[in-house]
Amino acid sequence: MHDKLPPTNPRQQQSPAPKEPASRRMFLIKLGVLLNGIVALIIGIPIVRYLLGAARSDNDYLKWIDVGNVDDFKDGETTLINYVNPFADPWDGETRKIPAYVRRVSATDFAVFAVNCAHLNCPVRWFAESQLFMCPCHGGIYYADGSRASGPPPRGLFTYETKIEDGKLFIKAGEMPTLSNQAQLIQEIAPCAGTDGFMPG
């Protein structure tokens, strides 16, 4: 326990370093920095690509999904359905299930809405009696056709592309709808709300 150690401070150590030209040492230092820079680049590029791997163009995350028989939906009714996200991992649990509203406008005409409010993504609820979608978060309201009725949303409900094949309804889905991947799809000018389609009698 009482062994005497040499002073650890280098200044106190008597070590007459052999005098070399400074330029040679600095060259070796620069060489070392350069080597490490190259190595950092070799490691860095794959790391950055790994980190950015999830960012893809929106079409990469869309697939046609079967959401049920056309005949399961009644004319003029809006139904809440669930589908399994096609890009799910086994450990996603319940989060792989995504809900959507299917509205059968006529025999061949379907409108499928995301449940996500166009304001900040909260789940809107359908009220069949008043034919309105209401959002519990900030009070966004939408009409049955998905158009914005009131509140903070900047647009109507997000819609999925639909098609019918062999009596089955397909939607093109797989990605959480946001203003940047869905905003350009709809160029709608809100009609004078409530006036069209109002028939006295």
């Binding site: 326990m1 150690l5 650890t8 980190l51 999830a54 960012a55 893809r56 929106d58 995350y61 809440l80 669930n82 996200n85 890009f87 799910a88 991992d89 450990w91 996603d92 649990g93 319940e94 989060t95 792989r96 299930k97 995504i98 809900p99 449940v115 304001h119 900040l120 993504n121 909260c122 789940p123 809107v124 609820r125 009696e129 008043s130 309105l132 209401m134 519990p136 978060c137 900030h138 009070g139 009409y143 009725a149 009131s150 509140g151 903070p152 949303p153 900047p154 797989g174 959480m176 946001t178 203003l179 940047s180 991947n181 709300a193 409530g194 006036t195 389609g197 109002f198 006295p200 009698g201």
Partner: protein
């Protein structure tokens, strides 16, 4: 020599830390800094230690998997011995942490402590505040329940508003196209490795700067900070009228830190852990997501801002606020320190504090949210339909069935999105009501498509009864002229004299 003294000497001979530690502990500090106003920074550090400890302990049981996280929280709450208490400590510690960091910041701001030569200490502090908020948000995501799911959905919606690269930013935030397993694991990495690593590094630097530059002296009105003279003045103050930091100033830090930790323990024991709320199953849409306390003000603000201002606010205001905070000591690095001579500083703090408090208070009862179950959960109170005609009662049915109650209260029960309708007949004429019901307007959807004319007639007839017995209902007196009603015409002429 006793064995432990020998052991100490053996270690000290090698690590040689006694000198620097003694220097830090016994450094001279101005007598005025031995004050109860100077305890918040050390309290924040103490809570950080509590958070690191409880966080590591929670990691022993928590499973960062979208399919299992919620279950592991339930197991922690109900099966792991005192798991609920550890969760409660970590959750309440988080709230206290945010609160103390902000109080610390306000104190430093009002005492002018960010001025020369402590500018960098403040700037690092700004980043520590951002990281504290980042920890609070990512921690809310790790509590993987319905609030967490829709909370991260809000984060994605905000990212989605970024022009040009919004879509890719959403993918990066979520780790894929939707909120799922990859989202949770990346927030786990952020909350457990990335932010804490940066946070602890910067906290070390922050404390180092405090030790090197000395604790800010109590500001005296009229005592101006000048770059040429301040360092010399401070040195004299610390040495001529100074006391050693330990024990002179340090005992207050000790007492306050203990009190804060005790408060966290009491809150944890009495109120218990936060959640988890419902299973993070997106198909359960009967949910009312709410953010954690530090973000309630933002929740209110996003309901009250006009729609066209939201995207600019969300994308531009945060960078501007951060730039202002960072630039503050660089722009106002010298001059008056005392709050007695800095009215703008005091007013800024007051306005922000009042705004924050008002918005947070609003978020506790969210008057802008429809009450989803009011139409089916609360019947029209009896006093409103006593002595009413069949048509009026039919109107009350329409009122209830068409979910008007979700937004309009009657008898104090119902939504607050629209005005309460108890006395609506005194404020709106029959024609105005019909127009409002059919066309909507303001925040009200148009019901023209969803109500038949008989339903509108019944509804408005019912609404016209909504006034106190002795109150006159609103009337459009000009109609009397149009319809040639002489008795009403008298009212019109009388009215015109006012």
């Amino acid at each position: 020599m006793r064995w432990y003294r020998r052991l100490y000497a053996w270690i000290e001979q090698r690590v040689q830390l006694e000198g620097p530690i003694k220097e830090a502990v016994f450094h001279m500090t101005p007598r005025s800094t031995a004050s109860w106003w100077y305890v918040f920074g050390s309290a924040a550090l103490t809570i950080l230690i509590v958070q690191v400890l409880t966080g590591i302990l929670l990691a022993l049981s928590y499973v960062p998997s979208a399919g299992q996280a919620w279950n592991s929280l339930e197991v922690l709450n109900h099966q792991v011995t005192l798991g609920w208490f550890l969760r409660a400590l970590h959750g309440w510690g988080s709230n206290f942490m945010v609160a103390i960091v902000i109080v610390h910041m306000i104190q430093v701001f009002l005492f002018g402590a960010y001025k020369f030569p402590r500018e960098l200490t403040w700037i690092i502090g700004v980043f520590l505040l951002l990281m504290t908020l980042g920890m609070a948000f990512s921690g809310q995501v790790l509590r993987f329940d319905q609030d967490a799911y829709w909370g991260i959905g809000i984060g994605a919606a905000i990212m989605g508003r970024v022009p040009l690269m919004g879509g890719q930013l959403v993918h990066l935030l979520l780790g894929g196209p939707i909120i799922a397993g990859a989202t949770l694991t990346r927030f786990f990495a952020l909350h457990v490795f990335v932010i804490p690593g940066l946070l602890l590094t910067l906290v070390g630097l922050h404390v180092w700067l405090v030790l090197k530059l000395g604790v800010n002296e109590w500001p005296v009105p009229g005592h101006i900070v000048r770059r040429e003279t301040y360092l010399q003045e401070y040195k004299e103050l610390a040495h001529k009228d100074g006391i050693p930091f330990f024990p002179g100033a340090f005992w207050r830090d000790l007492v306050f830190s203990a009190a804060i930790v005790l408060a966290i323990v009491v809150c944890a024991a009495v109120f218990g852990p936060f959640g988890p709320t419902g299973v993070p199953d997106p198909t359960i849409i009967q949910t009312v997501p709410r953010p954690d306390p530090p973000f309630l003000w933002l929740y209110s603000l996003l309901s009250l801002l006009p729609p066209e201002m939201e995207t600019p606010f969300l994308l531009i205001a945060p960078p501007i606020a951060i730039v202002i905070l960072i630039a503050l000591p660089l722009v106002a690095g010298v001059g008056e320190k005392s709050w007695h001579r800095r009215p703008v500083a005091v007013l800024t703090v007051l306005v922000l504090a009042i705004g924050w408090a008002a918005l947070t208070q609003l978020a506790t009862y969210t008057p802008w949210s429809p009450k989803m179950a009011a139409w089916s959960g609360a019947a029209v109170p009896v006093q409103f339909i006593q002595k009413s005609t069949p048509l009026e009662r039919q109107g009350a049915n329409v009122f209830q069935y068409k979910q008007c109650r979700n937004c309009h209260a009657l008898g104090g029960v119902g939504g607050e999105r629209g005005p309460a309708l108890d006395g609506i007949a005194t404020k709106m004429t029959k024609d105005q009501m019909i127009r409002q019901v059919i066309q909507g307007g303001g925040n009200m959807p148009a019901f023209g498509k969803n109500l038949s004319p008989p339903e509108v007639t019944a509804l408005v007839t019912f609404l016209e009864t909504l006034h106190r017995p002795n109150e006159r209902t609103a009337e459009d007196v000009s109609r009397a002229v149009a319809e040639g009603d002489q008795s009403k015409k008298g009212d019109l002429e009388q009215g015109s004299r006012y």
